[in-house]
Point group: D2
Chain length 446, copies 4
Amino acid sequence: MPIQVTTGSREYFPGIGKIKYEGADSDNPLAFKYYDENRVIAGKSMKDHFRFAIAYWHSFCGNGGDPFGPAGTIDLPWDEASDPMQSARDKLDAAFEFITKLGAGFYCFHDRDIAPAGSTAAESEKNLKTLVELAKKKQAASGVNLLWGTANVFTHARYMNGAATNPDFHVIPQVAAQVKAAIDATIELGGDNYVFWGGREGYYSLLNTDMKRELDHLGMFLQKARDYGRKAGFKGTFLIEPKPMEPTKHQYDFDSATVIGFLNKYGLQDDFKINIENNHATLAGHSFAHEVQTACDAGLLGSLDVNQGDPHNGWDTDEFMHDLHECTSLMLVLLQNGGIGKGGMNFDAKRRRSSTDAEDLFIAHISSMDSLARGLIIADNVLQKSNYLKMKKERYASYDSGNGKAFESGKLDLETLAKMADEIGEPKQISGKQELYEAILNQYIR
Amino acid sequence: MPIQVTTGSREYFPGIGKIKYEGADSDNPLAFKYYDENRVIAGKSMKDHFRFAIAYWHSFCGNGGDPFGPAGTIDLPWDEASDPMQSARDKLDAAFEFITKLGAGFYCFHDRDIAPAGSTAAESEKNLKTLVELAKKKQAASGVNLLWGTANVFTHARYMNGAATNPDFHVIPQVAAQVKAAIDATIELGGDNYVFWGGREGYYSLLNTDMKRELDHLGMFLQKARDYGRKAGFKGTFLIEPKPMEPTKHQYDFDSATVIGFLNKYGLQDDFKINIENNHATLAGHSFAHEVQTACDAGLLGSLDVNQGDPHNGWDTDEFMHDLHECTSLMLVLLQNGGIGKGGMNFDAKRRRSSTDAEDLFIAHISSMDSLARGLIIADNVLQKSNYLKMKKERYASYDSGNGKAFESGKLDLETLAKMADEIGEPKQISGKQELYEAILNQYIR
Amino acid sequence: MPIQVTTGSREYFPGIGKIKYEGADSDNPLAFKYYDENRVIAGKSMKDHFRFAIAYWHSFCGNGGDPFGPAGTIDLPWDEASDPMQSARDKLDAAFEFITKLGAGFYCFHDRDIAPAGSTAAESEKNLKTLVELAKKKQAASGVNLLWGTANVFTHARYMNGAATNPDFHVIPQVAAQVKAAIDATIELGGDNYVFWGGREGYYSLLNTDMKRELDHLGMFLQKARDYGRKAGFKGTFLIEPKPMEPTKHQYDFDSATVIGFLNKYGLQDDFKINIENNHATLAGHSFAHEVQTACDAGLLGSLDVNQGDPHNGWDTDEFMHDLHECTSLMLVLLQNGGIGKGGMNFDAKRRRSSTDAEDLFIAHISSMDSLARGLIIADNVLQKSNYLKMKKERYASYDSGNGKAFESGKLDLETLAKMADEIGEPKQISGKQELYEAILNQYIR
Amino acid sequence: MPIQVTTGSREYFPGIGKIKYEGADSDNPLAFKYYDENRVIAGKSMKDHFRFAIAYWHSFCGNGGDPFGPAGTIDLPWDEASDPMQSARDKLDAAFEFITKLGAGFYCFHDRDIAPAGSTAAESEKNLKTLVELAKKKQAASGVNLLWGTANVFTHARYMNGAATNPDFHVIPQVAAQVKAAIDATIELGGDNYVFWGGREGYYSLLNTDMKRELDHLGMFLQKARDYGRKAGFKGTFLIEPKPMEPTKHQYDFDSATVIGFLNKYGLQDDFKINIENNHATLAGHSFAHEVQTACDAGLLGSLDVNQGDPHNGWDTDEFMHDLHECTSLMLVLLQNGGIGKGGMNFDAKRRRSSTDAEDLFIAHISSMDSLARGLIIADNVLQKSNYLKMKKERYASYDSGNGKAFESGKLDLETLAKMADEIGEPKQISGKQELYEAILNQYIR
């Protein structure tokens, strides 16, 4: 079903209607220039390639605050009611208005984004359920779906030393209560995935930390969460989102490779996949494409948090992804590896602190959706029209037959290989031709 | 057997005799102030705690060259003969003179460090065997042992696109020939370990790279090398040395966690362990202590390359480790996790380009050995005399009994845990006391 | 006058009295082991070497908040009154209790730390004046002095695009009102310095920024502030505190060298000096010692913010400085360059988010004061007892006479110098002996 | 005069003729798609916008060597003669063949790139003069000009502790001899600029360094070099090329701001400008655009070394600049600030170690020239067709009249400004609209 613009009793973004596709020559910043949701590329509509999702926290809770200005700069007109439950309802209205005007098919949330904590776990769960019922109606009315839900177990002071990895067991039940309720909410809303981001699962100092015991606790907790989810009927994918640091000095889910090892160690690999964020990748010293390829190669690519960092800043700046080279590199990996599946592209990105106009929220998302759409078009052209794939395949052709194939299939032992050295002699020098590959990509960035 | 000073026909370090322990009040830069090899700490002699090894390449092949001055600065008087085999013999004399005067019990080498390449693989192997026989005699005469051997499959132009991960199969036999010969050499010399450092096993650009296929080739190659080694009688440990980048843009053996996952994936975990280098750890965004703890927790700590990087430079500076905080943190991890075993501490460190006096090679090693000895003494004092261990254990005490223990052993499911949230109520806030831990360490750095 | 413990009507740190010096063998974490304020080193008491100052914001306003947990973790019992002016008075009581129990001689504040903003600039100024009068009495009663005051022109939303560099002139008067009032407060309290930290003086994107015009505005504003201060009777030093980034993507006062150039360009060099922070130095790619030396060489060292960062994290972690190598390196520079003068060492450092015990605030400060005291003792020993100074001087001895001296004094032109090349011939190689220098420092870290 | 293909007796790049402009739809990697040298943009031909120069060292001396493979990978067929002077002549042939086939108008060299060192300074100078005479003829025959010359005073072992900043005066005459001869060569060849890159002018350790004295020596040396150059008839610009580190731990010419301060301090600002390299900028924590803007604002932009680094590697990777966002950002700054003047764009870039085909050298340069040409076209479109300039100007409009103008011209003192705060009241919030600016740029990247 196409997305229906769905407002509440108050319109929070007056003057802005449904964002339309106007093509590359449009000068209208509130129109798509490349993202044309029904356009088919490589056999699939753009909508299905991307499964764009709006992040509830950044777009509807974020106030532009930063460590040197926590009170923020951005006006949130839906956050004016004195009753937090009323604010939550108003925020839901605003969220669906924005999501549907933008035409995104999905959204994502933490429990605390959509409903306020109560004074007890039970009350918090009750609040969440109330809002989930409202959200369910909004989903039905609008055609918007839930990409994933999650529990915020990093903001509250009680998680300062960790959530599932807290040295004090008494914190674990609090985590369990939130995670259980958030899984329930995700099931109720038909979410395709459920995410774990371990913002406090790491350490500030190794000196006071028993890393092994903490990781064992984390593995155990995730097993129990998985078991519960499956028992409760969750058919989707559990996701772990790697990040190397921040807020902790060192976070356990450092990067894709680390998470893959962790999932295998704790027997989670059949139920969990990886949710990769660009800015987290770069903080870990990797490119986004590298992290995505690594997850694909392990059969564990789950979903993406699309954003970009600042190459000269060492923290998570969560900017809207608009670098065309990075968008192209990402889409090249996805097109060659079967795409995003039941995952999606969640905008874990925030407008800059001083982008305070209401329209800025639209402009930022539109610009990023257009950039990713261009990345898709460019990557598809590279794969279809250029020598790219042929060149890449030929690089490895010596393993497709003869001794190379025998080696690849394990039929040559070290002695046999060693004997070949002087038989074959010095191998011919073969250029890696990196600059040519780069030039081909540039040729199609048009 | 105690180390015997062993010179060849020419003395290469005249005026410097066996380095002695003179104690902390000595002003002699050519004496140990803390490293007293037979002093027993925590039930083991210093010699056995460290198993110090000298890196053949830095100390006897390194000329002070850098990318902006490859011709170097450091005079290598053993490298004057016109015949490369004579140079190799002279270098061996110089190496054992240095190692034995310093009193290190071990050394490490690449095939090309101790013997020159020939014009064929067979000739290269012959050269290596010749030098290995000489080295064997030197070992016997001096009491010095081989910590590990390895093959240099990164310097030669043929490895520019990778060694075992080369896109061209024709390179693989060359790797095999070198690795087989180097394993043979290691066996012949009674080496405790055999190392793989994949300097070219990675990529410069993901665009032209089939990462999965390359990693499969690497896994296959290591299996074959392992099989050969075991068949040939190698009883020691195979080691992989992680490094995240340099010379490649991205190296496959990024860090300990990545290597652990790789070893498990390719069934190598029973024969391989990890050789961790401080400067490689820091380039990957980790502390040395973190990487060592990670390997210990997986039961895969193999050996160490001790050095330190510059926190403001982004390449492998390979400085001699002398930071007392880092030495202490390292020894705290080792003392709490059973020590270095059959691994050792190899000085993968080079004096600075302008440290051109012959004595500088001694001073640099002595300073580092003393620093590590101090780290051991300090760490032992912290563990024995302070509240450190008690504080750390108490942090996790809630998991030693009751519900915490039940959780840890998998007896509590998510629903049960969630129900406890309101029963137990908000957990008491417990300070992590990081500054106190840090103050305790400082107290013992004396 | 010795510092008198000065509490208000409520004791906020019960159970903790005046911190005493107990010596290196004490196990008491609430005692000094090295900082003995009247001990004379290099002709000056420790108290005068350091002029330690407590940062009002971190220690009395900081709640342990971070971007993923802005609500914080740390209980501030002085912040319970519903009336913000009463809270401010209570906070002042708590601050002087802490400062005097610790025995620090100085403190530092932003206007908004000690008094709440009002609804107008006039009301804000009135609030500030009220608290300043109270602070003045506290100073008199306790013997504590003001190291510096400053205005917080970065937290309020109106400064999101800059304070004195705001593209909108209408923001400038707000800055002026705050700065004028803060200068007045500093004069009233006898502050030795007045600081400018330009947290928002920089840019998020160069695309929308006229950097030259913004810098001209900054230069103009500082001239006017200086003129006002001098007219109003301020005899102390104006300070600029460099930081390369955070909160902005790029901050104008990047590092010492940048600030020195700026001060000279705008004719501020006779009234302004530099306030250097270690963690800001490292974010800019420098060591603390480098930045301090750079300022000293320009005659512009003003004061220090002592803390340390995490070498693996890319943001301002503001940890308490306790690295003995860094403390020693710092004190070596200061002892060789005449010391801190009328500046001081302000603890721009915060306990970790999970260091939530009241005593942790004491432990953190004590540990850092002890570490710096050790740095002083070690550095003095290096300078007095070792060959350090002699070695360093001899490195440059060729410039003390003959042609070297002639060159240094400008008497040799290029042609004359060039002619000497073959006359003098190839210079003798002289080792830089870096490892020996490092070993000497380590020898004295005891 | 148009560039004439100029070969020597042997053709070193057979099969490759003059590179032609074929337009954006060409699939020929050996043709220009965007760089059309006579196309006029913003009133100037592309040729004059860029003044592209080929770097002699990377393109004709570089062998693909790196710290882990110094012997290199790239065949240099002009480097086969046993007589180094003959090699130098052959290299000159190859260089002019390449430069003219590519159609670049300029080249740059170090003394040692074009002529080998002799056994004395006099002999080195003689060698240089011989090659300069040959190069002069090549220039005349081809129409290629010299953008700048320089002296390599960082590769030789004698410069290990610095060149003009060496602690030993006896090194200074060697530097002087090289610099004098290189200035003479630059004059003889009609070079527009003369460059100083201080690869060893910095330190490995601050411990053994008298930074102030070293900088004074550097200032003195540059004054003498300037005086000599002017006396000898050099009418061009002296350039300093900033780099923050590598090969030294810390280089004195850290970044543009540091160099600007240095030039002013030593009275060099009327003769010297700055030569900015992208990869050096990023190593210093800046964007290329920032560094160029900084130099422009000081009136000190001299010339550019165009290349790009790897955002995940911490050393100077010197890749060919092909990032379209960076090319556009650079050209936006240049177009708004009057362009490159008598400077140029020197390709201080090297093909990757494994780009070993002769054609790769062409492909890499062509790709970069096309990327920069696109950056120019895009930037010009942004400036001509979009609201970009208008938006940017309006951001600062409040300073163009009234009180804003009065402030800017110094007519409002602090008290007057402060009084306005409540008169004017809280300023209206004005969005910085960063995402809109970014979207506009993306719109024109076509």
